[in-house]
Symmetry: C2
Subunit: 197 residues, 2 copies
């Protein structure tokens, strides 16, 4: 094939953050602590300060973690949510995490989804979205989150996806603030001669 495949691999350190794959994450707060831990470790390891994970809602089983791979993988789409959702679908062999006979799944993300990952959440088949930091916590340190519909939460709910915001928001936002304090790269695109805004 003349054109290469797209390959997105989690960094090896993810196995240190997720050290026990038999562990059950009973509460939304436990799940969010994992997403925040992934975001924190990612920012220490040269990645973007964003983490996410897909769980079975009822059992709390971790199906797939995700971290932001934009810079290391040269892939602007490789946000933590899209990575976690795509790995979960690969694990389960289904493009629809809501397909029969699968149990219901939940996406937990350290920062609210951007414009792209809002759409990716819609198509993934998850039944629940749990968010830590707000989009404005990311834009405050310079990341462009893009325009979502004003009623994006309602749009998800109308499609059968429950939304829980602001879970451990201060702790999640602290990861972003630390990233900015350390002067790490804000890797928005179109940084060339005609950068747009």
């Amino acid at each position: 094939m003349t054109f290469p495949s797209i390959e997105l691999s989690l960094p090896a350190w993810v196995e240190e953050v997720v050290d026990d794959t038999t562990k059950r994450f009973a509460t939304a707060e436990q799940r969010m602590r994992l997403a925040i831990a992934l975001a924190q470790r990612s920012s220490e390891e040269g990645g973007g300060p964003f983490g996410a994970a897909v769980f079975e809602i009822e059992t709390g089983r971790l199906v797939a973690p995700g971290v932001n791979l934009v810079v290391p993988a040269h892939c602007s789409a490789a946000h933590a949510e899209l990575v976690a959702l795509s790995i979960a679908q690969k694990v389960l062999g289904s493009f629809d995490l809501g397909a029969d006979p699968l149990p219901a799944h939940q996406l937990v993300t350290s920062t609210e989804p951007c414009a792209q990952c809002f759409g990716a959440t819609l198509w993934s088949g998850v039944r629940s979205l749990v968010c830590g930091a707000r989009g404005e916590d990311a834009t405050q340190i310079g990341f462009d989150e893009g325009p979502k519909p004003d009623n994006w939460v309602q749009e998800l709910k109308q499609r059968g996806i429950a939304v829980h915001r602001d879970l451990l928001r201060p702790q999640a936002a602290e990861v972003l603030k630390n990233y900015a304090r350390r002067g790490l790269p804000i890797y928005n695109s179109r940084q060339g001669a005609n950068p747009g805004r």
Copy 2:
């Protein structure tokens, strides 16, 4: 690693549609004819009826084709636009197709981007988006295109991305109509017990 990598590979038949990689696509219409040909062939080969490609704007060089891989790759995010953009970024070794010293790039898509691919376009670094069929041509045959901001074209333009709509729209929409006539799968997610709308 406990968790698998995401791997998205173009089908082998793409090399038959793109039979001469030295060819230059001088006009937007020539580029759209390639995107439509990819969409048509994809629908004949068991994929989704969507095609896209990334070109150098000035030279017309094809950087990367893309087709919808949702069903074959078990990946709801693998829309034609996201596939083409991600392959182009891999070819060029940059998450930003607008980075210096790269030439300006254009995304050409057989159907307007959905909610997710609208966001993916924003982050890709392209300077130009050319669309064939409208989103409503896809929704008319049952695909959910998702909610984009009402002023999504303006949002792209404000970020330095020119938008050209309705290029060869009848030919592009015909691929969608043919797909529907043949009763091929409309693979929206959340088709399980609680499908949302």
